[in-house]
Symmetry: C2
Subunit: 267 residues, 2 copies
C-alpha cells in the first residue's frame, strides 16, 4: 500500500516532480532528465500503472483517494495528500480531474522490436504538437494499428497533454523512436513494409488506391507546417493523398491520420 | 484606406475590442454583446475581410502593415499601430502571427436558407470545445460538405480559437444555429435529408452502409463527453458507427467527423 503523506507546505521539496506543470520548457527538461512522466486524472493514472509503469509518487486531494484505492494498494510509492488550493499552488493550474501521478518511464524498445509482428504502423515525421501526437495515437489505436514510430524531432507521447488527448493509448500502443532518420523509409521497406507517404504532391494517388492489396503497411505523416521532408517523400514506396474539395489546402494532421488509418484498416 | 493611428498607451480606450484575449468568459460576453469577433494572423485577417465581414478596426506592429496593405486599402476602419510589447500588454498574450482585426459579425441565416441547396450537411449537438468546432469545420470543408448546423449550446465558430483551427473555413462554409433543438431531426427529414447519428449504440450500422445510396445526408455528431442526446438519437433516421478495434471506447469527435465526412463524401 502506498504511504499517505499529508502535505501542508507548497514548497515541500518532495513535490519536485509536480512543479509548474504549465511551463512546457521546464517540464520537458525535468521529465527527460529524471526519466519520469506525469499522469493526470483517475482514469489515466490507473491506465498508466496498469500498463506497467512504476509510480514514483502520487499527489491528490483527500477526496480522490477512495477511487484510486485499488491502484494505491499495488505500490509502495508515497501518496502526497493536500488541499486542492495547495495542489494548484504547486502545479500552477487547477487540477480538474483530481489525481496526479509521477511515473518512471520504461526505456523505449528499438524500432525492429516494435515492428516485428506488426501489420499496420504509423510513422510520424516531426509532428511537434503534443495534442496532434496524442490524437494520432488515439485514432491509430481505434483503427487497430499495431505500432507508432516517431522521427527524432516528434513531440513526446508521454508529455501530460499527449497522454490526455490520447486517452491512454500511448500506454497500450507500442512505439519507438527512429534513430536513423535518413534511411528510415528504406529500412521499413527492407523489413517488408510498403511505406506510403501522405502528401499533397502532384503524383500522389488517392489513399484508397495506394493501400489496396498491400499486406504490411507503414503510413507516413508529416509535420504540421511543411509536411513530409523531401528525403522521406522520395524514399517512400508510394505517395498518397486524401482527395479533397477544390480550393482546400489540406487537412489537419490529426484529421488526416484518422481518415488514412480508417481507409488502411479496410484494405 | 484604413487610417493608421499610432498607440503608445496600453490603456487607450480605443483598444477595447482587443483586451484580455485569453479570458474566455470575458471575451464571450464582450464579443456577443458588441456583435464582433477577432481574427488573428495575416492569412486569417485577409480571409475574414474577403469573405465580407466589415472590419471595426485593426491592431498590429509596424512590420505587419506592408503584408496587409491591400486589405487595409479596402476599408476606412482605423488601424492601431503599436509595438509588440504593447500589443502583448493589451491582449495578454504574445501575438505570434502579428496582425489582429476586430470585425462585425454578419447575422447568421436561418437553417432553412443554409440547407436549401445543400446535399451534405454536418449537424453538431453541444460540441462545446472551440478547437473541436474549428477542426470539424475544416474537415467538413475539405470533404466538400455544404453547410454546418449547430445546436444552441455548441461553441461559437467565430471565437478566435475556432477560426484559427478551422483555417478560415468558418468564413466560407455556410452555417446556422438550430433554434428548435427538440424537433431538429424531424425538420431535417421533412426537408429531404436522411439524418444519420454517429453513436456507439448497439443497433448502429457501420457508417459506410449507413450512407450508401443516400442522396441528401445530414451527418450528426454529439458532444465530447456524452455524445448525442437520447432525443436526437431516437429521432434520427439512422444510427451509424465508425467500426473500431476491440477495447477502444471511441474516437475524438474531430477525428470521427473527419472519417465520417470522408466516407459520406464517397457515397
Amino acid at each position: 500500500m502506498a504511504t499517505l503523506i499529508e502535505i501542508t507546505d507548497a514548497g515541500d521539496p518532495r513535490l519536485g516532480d509536480y512543479r509548474d506543470l504549465r511551463d512546457v520548457q521546464l517540464r520537458k527538461s525535468l521529465e527527460s532528465e529524471h526519466g519520469l512522466f506525469l499522469a493526470e486524472g483517475e482514469k489515466v493514472v490507473r491506465r498508466a500503472v496498469e500498463s506497467g509503469h512504476a509510480p514514483r509518487s502520487f499527489l491528490m486531494a483527500p477526496r480522490w483517494i477512495e477511487g484510486l484505492k485499488d491502484v494505491l494498494h499495488t505500490t509502495d510509492a508515497p501518496c502526497y495528500v493536500l488541499s486542492e488550493e495547495l495542489a494548484e499552488e504547486v502545479t500552477g493550474f487547477h487540477v480538474h480531474r483530481g489525481a496526479l501521478a509521477s511515473l518512471h518511464r520504461i526505456p523505449t524498445p528499438p524500432v525492429a522490436e516494435v515492428i516485428q509482428n506488426a501489420r499496420s504502423v504509423l510513422v510520424l515525421e516531426d509532428v511537434v504538437d503534443h495534442t496532434n501526437v496524442g490524437a494520432i495515437f488515439r485514432s491509430g489505436a481505434a483503427m487497430g494499428f499495431d505500432a507508432v514510430l516517431l522521427s527524432p524531432r516528434c513531440a513526446d507521447p508521454l508529455y501530460r497533454r499527449s497522454i490526455k488527448v490520447a486517452m491512454g493509448a500511448v500506454f497500450t500502443m507500442p512505439w519507438a523512436r527512429i534513430e536513423d532518420w535518413y534511411d528510415a523509409m528504406p529500412h521499413l521497406s527492407e523489413a517488408g513494409f510498403t511505406t506510403i507517404a501522405l502528401t499533397l504532391a502532384d503524383d500522389a494517388t488517392p489513399i484508397e488506391e495506394a493501400v489496396a492489396g498491400v499486406d504490411k503497411v507503414a503510413l507516413v505523416l508529416g509535420s504540421e507546417g511543411p509536411g513530409i521532408s523531401e528525403r522521406w517523400q522520395r524514399s517512400a514506396d508510394k505517395r498518397a493523398i486524401i482527395p479533397m474539395a477544390e480550393g482546400i489546402d489540406s487537412l489537419n494532421v490529426a484529421a488526416a491520420s484518422a481518415v488514412a488509418c480508417y481507409v488502411a484498416a479496410r484494405r
